[in-house]
Symmetry: C2
Subunit: 143 residues, 2 copies
DNA sequence: TTGATATTGATCAGCATTATCAATTAACGG
DNA sequence: CCGTTAATTGATAATGCTGATCAATATCAA
């Protein structure tokens, strides 16, 4: 199961770094991995508050960062808004279409674009590591 | 000359909106249009301080926003860092290659990618307005 | 020149995120 | 199982950037 694997990767990362596995880390990782995509630290904290009212916001924040470091999560920043996070394990890289009106996110990927992006970087002497592409417009229901 | 045209567009926009042309607006627009690309509000303010120590940071900030509204400037936000601004008039749309080590920006454009981005949006029922593409990697000198 | 009002500059307010710190708790060795 | 060490937590303060406020000033049409 995807979420189990991701949690294992996270915990392995923690152990490798000499850090510690805590009750909070388990709870936060589980909640994050089964939560809706593109969740904010605030929303994840609110979600956790239901069953674990003792977990503080700073801890949620710290652990989202740590999950990013470990490779199981990715931070997405759109415009100047607050950061959003999505699980990354077992999921392909993708980019986003963003509706200017309702704010909806759609995940997309086009292999031809990916290939051209690599070519473009190399043509300028760059060694590409990662990229970010956002297309803003009006979605089907808002246009 | 490019910068003259841009200033005219800016001032026309100001007049059309019933706003006023001030000494500060002139100075800020000139400095911005001849400054290095990708400048921050802070750096532009520091630059202006040399000859015009009376101009406040808030005014620089406000007028960069206003120049964006008028169409002669564009705001670029990379990651969660402070906003940067670049002149837009007489310049084509472009995207950025960003060096992960030295932070250098390179402007790039690929018509094939642009076309595919439009197709991609339309294929998902989106009406594309604008997009943003950043490729992170190591530049020629840093790799 | 005058009057109406936009602008300025200094400062304050808001926000998301990060740092701080005392108290707690995980992990390890014995 | 116990005790020690140091990472972690939770509350809160600090930071950094951007926007808002407001009295004083400057613009511009009449």
């Amino acid at each position: 199961m995807k979420s189990v694997k991701a949690k294992d990767i996270f915990f392995d990362y923690i152990r490798t770094k000499g850090l510690r596995i805590t009750r909070q880390r388990e709870v936060i990782a589980e909640a994050f991995l089964s939560a809706e995509k593109h969740i904010t630290a605030e929303d994840l904290h609110a979600l956790l508050k239901q069953r674990h009212p003792e977990i503080g916001f700073a801890t949620v924040h710290r652990n989202l960062k740590l999950m990013c470091e470990s490779g199981i999560a990715e931070e997405i920043k759109i415009g100047g808004n607050k950061a959003r996070y999505e699980p990354k394990i077992g999921r392909e890289h993708h980019d986003h279409l963003i509706c200017l009106k309702c704010g909806k996110f759609i995940e997309v990927k086009d292999d031809r674009i990916e290939r051209l992006q690599d070519e473009l970087a190399k043509a300028h002497g760059f060694v590409p590591h990662r990229h970010k592409m956002e297309i803003y417009g009006l979605c089907r229901t808002c246009r």
